[in-house]
């Protein structure tokens, strides 16, 4: 395979005919070779489903690379940029498959938010105080956060559902979900500060429960 500089990649990929085909084949090989490493903690290369997934990811990545070539700024190697796109495509697919049978309703039902703290067994006085603190924080959350924000908080925190999957079920993008939760965190942080509540104390209350 020919070693290419970023300039050479750009030239070859944006040309036509055999020259472009050669570049696409070479880039496809580079992406394919990286996937066993990228996905090692997700799907071992020995898994019977690996090859089909990898082939799909390579094809999809090459299409997206051609589509977005104009947006490549040359601040990394082009192969790293292409691998970044491949990783996003592969993990999106793996997350989707892994969580496809789980509904948001089922996850929220299992978590049953507000009553949990009250359910904990009787504590000595000090622990009761700490439980009061947790209960107060929970009341703040219920007052300050929207229902959407609280739903996302539970879904993200319980059982480690990926943001991408939570977002899909809530009919938004992962980016919009991040912004929604950033707003929620900012708002709550300000309220905790207003009330003079210290995060270390709150965390201690969790440990004591």
């Amino acid at each position: 395979m020919v070693e290419r500089t970023n300039e050479a990649w750009l030239k070859d990929l944006s040309s036509t005919g055999e020259r472009q085909e050669d570049a696409l084949r070479d880039l496809g090989r580079i992406i394919r070779a990286g996937l066993p490493y990228a996905l090692s903690s997700w799907l071992p290369a020995s898994d019977p489903n690996f090859d089909a997934l990898a082939d799909d990811v390579v094809q999809e990545t090459l299409l997206r690379v051609l589509d977005r070539l104009d947006s490549f700024e040359g601040r990394s190697k082009l192969s790293t940029w292409a691998n970044k796109i491949a990783v996003r495509i592969a993990l999106t697919e793996l997350r989707r498959k892994r969580w496809q049978d789980r509904s948001l309703e089922e996850i929220l039902e299992k978590a049953q938010n507000p009553q949990l703290i009250a359910e904990h067994k009787p504590n000595p006085e000090r622990m009761a105080m700490q439980s009061d603190l947790l209960r107060h924080v929970q009341e703040l959350i219920e007052r300050e956060l929207t229902e959407k924000q609280r739903t996302a908080m539970i879904a993200l925190g319980v059982q480690g559902m990926p943001a991408e999957e939570v977002a899909r079920r809530m009919g938004m993008t992962r980016n919009a979900l991040y912004k929604l939760m950033h707003d929620a965190r900012k708002r709550l942080k300000a309220r905790l500060a207003d009330e003079g509540l210290d995060m270390d104390d709150i965390m201690k209350a969790f440990e004591a429960r």
Binding site: A38, T80, H182
Partner: protein, 78 residues
């Protein structure tokens, strides 16, 4: 993690680390290749791209994608 209290704790830990300005997932994706190359080369990313590092600590999906990309770079393939 298996109950709402754990979710609450996880959320509050993030509340404690919340900044008024944070990068979103798209902004991080735009520079993830640059960031991963810098890490692979041993550059101090804390100084170079502190906002990216912060986002990765707050966003598990982006962190997973960063780790996957880094594994490719560390295998010496690109």
């Amino acid at each position: 993690m298996n109950n709402a209290l754990d979710a609450l704790r996880d959320f509050l830990l993030k509340v404690g680390r919340t900044e008024s300005h944070e990068l979103d997932c798209e902004q991080v994706f735009q520079v993830l290749d640059v960031y991963a190359e810098a890490v692979a080369q041993g550059v101090d990313v804390e100084e170079l791209l502190p906002l990216v590092k912060h986002h990765l600590a707050m966003c598990h999906d982006c962190q997973e994608e960063y780790e996957a990309l880094l594994r490719i770079l560390e295998a010496g393939l690109t």
